[in-house]
Amino acid sequence: MLILKIAWRNLLRHKVKSLIIGIIIFLGALIMTVGNASVIGAQKGFDENFVNRYTGHVLLVSKEEEKDSVLYSFMGESLKVIQDYPALKSMLEEQDYIKDFIPLTRGVAVLLGLEDTMWGIYAVGVNFEDYQRIFQNNVKLVEGRFLKNGEHGILVSTGTREDIYKFTGHWVLPEDEEITVDNLTDEALEDYRAGELPVQNDLVFMGWGGDTLNTDIRLPIIGVVRYEALNQVMKEMSFLDLESFRECFGYFTAESTIEDLSEEEQTSLEVVNDDDIFSGDDIFADAVLTEESYDIETIQEQTQRDEGAVNLDSGAFNYVSVKFKPGVSIREGTELLNQAIEQSGTDARVIDWKTASGQVAQMAGMMQGAVSIFVLILFFVAVIIIANTLSLAAMERVEELGMMRAIGALRGYFISHMFILEIFILSFVFSTIGIFVGMGCVGLLQLSNIQAGNQEMLHILFGGDTFKPVIDVFGLIEGILQLAFLTSLAMIYPVYVAGKIKPLDAVNRS
């Protein structure tokens, strides 16, 4: 009680010094609160946006796949195909901790046929309706319409469209759509006004890389899309329907799968060989002409691909995005999945979303880390200033402290405690104010709805399209602990200086 009284009155006695140190602590608490809230907000935003809207919690790839950064590989290198996806699907359906999953293919498709330029686009092959369901309708329509499951075509992202225009001079437009002037880039608008903007309603692609024989396919542009979250980061990802993707990359398509052969078909396959087909004298025969006429539309109808009858699961997939149920951590879910994979013997390997996202997630982590380091540097500067000011204060109080020691105040108990209490009171009062003002600033920042605009780095730094700092209990506790740690650090030297003051120093000073 006596120590508290002396400490409190000393602070009031040295108002200017107390205020200087208090302001530093206040600013430290304020910066810490806003800084932590920003980093936590960015991390949460990035994690939520990526997990919920792009990757799921974990990705399953083939055991043959050696890369971990499977979503963005060097030069668009393709991924190994998962063997026997239906078996993997059955296994995943049995796991009660899994909320949902979706198989996908991904790769870089080279654009052909537009001028002399070759340009690759980052393409994902997926059942688009399923994709939207699982990833919270993250894809928003800009022009045209969405792909339906089983329908052939491409959804071109706004970033891809701009790149295509930049490198080929063609403006990509969905079939049967008119140019929307508002969506044109400045350069495209100039061309449009000059009547020199060629429009492209379909695109020819060929898969890039991989171990398979790639083929070129022409696909109609069904729609132009953007992403609700992290559009600036992901704007170059376009969607192909699964079967077109497989054809383009030379993968095994579902249509080419023969699931149930009749006994007769099986026998025919076993018997017939090349020699049987091309031997004998009946290779050539005279054509028999009849009067019968054929209706081309009827033939088309009879030979049209029956999309509904094709089981898309039987074709090739590169990876499966898996979302866990709420409350299941990535570590826990990964362990359970690994066990299930081992038991079922399916061809899969689990990669968490951050590892799979590679450089993008790393860059986000690095940028958020840089913010944390900046805050930390500010803190250490504050620590040095506080320690210096308090040490000087201790030196100025040699007579008082030395006299206290002379009349019986213990160095390790009374003097240290008095000094610690003085710093504690300052820290408590000013950091409390700082934290509350910081919370107010965070509230204002949330309300001000700061947009990342076209700055990709800001999207990564913000963890989304808008700056959304978040105050959470753990963040606050962490911040208070940081402050306590730094204040403790700041008081070590002044307490040491105060403790070193001897009674004789007071006498000599007198």
Binding site: L2, K5, I6, R9, N10, L12, R13, E399, E400, M403, M404, R405, A406, I407, G408, A409, L410, R411, G412, F414, K502, P503, L504, A506, V507, S510
Partner: protein, 226 residues
């Protein structure tokens, strides 16, 4: 019985490559209840001698005994407790705690004495009694800056006596006071020596106040001369 015994005490202060000899083989005994003055010119070693007796400085060589205990081998912790329980200090420059009022300044040493378990009431009564004895009851709630030099020194005397110490050391207690106030302070110390039976050792170079001393020790150039 001797409360203080010094034998062949030498104190040297290093000064670059040489050293300053503040005390050169001092032998001294002070009896219980004495009211003794250490007299000498400036630089003769009075303050050094009092500091060594008061355990706030240590002898380079020699033996210093307080109540028969050799203090030269004691730890800083033990010396602090010894000062708290057995020695009262009155400094030349008053040295009060500026943020505490008169009562709190006087109570301060008692509040440090946790082992004696004084109750709050006992502490208050003891402090008020001494404040009354030094004639400052009217100023009990005043802070040091609201008091005159003489009043502050009286607070320092009350604080030095509050723990009922065996010895009170006063280093030139009247040096910063006018002669009238100085004489009143010495009279007060003399009176408390009688009432409290406390041993007083005070240094001075003012021959006018020697008349208050029961015994006088003269020091010159770090040596006891009489």
């Amino acid at each position: 019985m001797n409360v203080i015994e010094l034998k062949d005490v030498i104190k040297e202060y290093p000064l670059g490559k040489t050293s300053v000899h503040a005390l050169r083989g001092v032998n001294l005994s002070v009896k219980e209840g004495d009211f003794t003055s250490i007299v000498g010119p400036s630089g003769s070693g009075k303050t050094t001698l009092l500091n060594i007796i008061g355990c706030i400085d240590h002898a380079t060589t020699g033996v210093v005994k307080v109540h028969g205990k050799d203090v030269t081998t004691m730890s800083d912790y033990s010396l602090t407790l010894l000062r708290l329980h057995s020695i009262g200090f009155i400094f030349q420059t008053f040295n009060l705690i500026p943020v505490l009022n008169v009562r709190e300044n006087v109570e301060f040493p008692l509040l440090l004495m946790k082992s004696k378990n004084y109750t709050k009431k006992q502490i208050k009564e003891r402090a008020e009694k001494l404040i009354e004895e030094v004639g400052l009851s009217e100023h009990i709630n005043h802070r040091p800056y609201e008091l005159s030099g003489g009043q502050r020194q009286r607070v320092a005397i009350a604080r030095a006596l509050v723990t009922n110490p065996d010895i009170v050391l006063a280093d030139e207690p009247t040096a910063n006071l006018d002669s009238e106030t100085g004489e009143r302070i010495l009279s007060l110390m003399q009176e408390l020596n009688k009432i409290e039976k406390t041993t007083f050792i005070f240094s001075t170079h003012d021959p006018e106040i020697l008349k208050y001393a029961k015994s006088i020790t003269k020091i010159r150039d770090g040596k006891i001369v009489a």
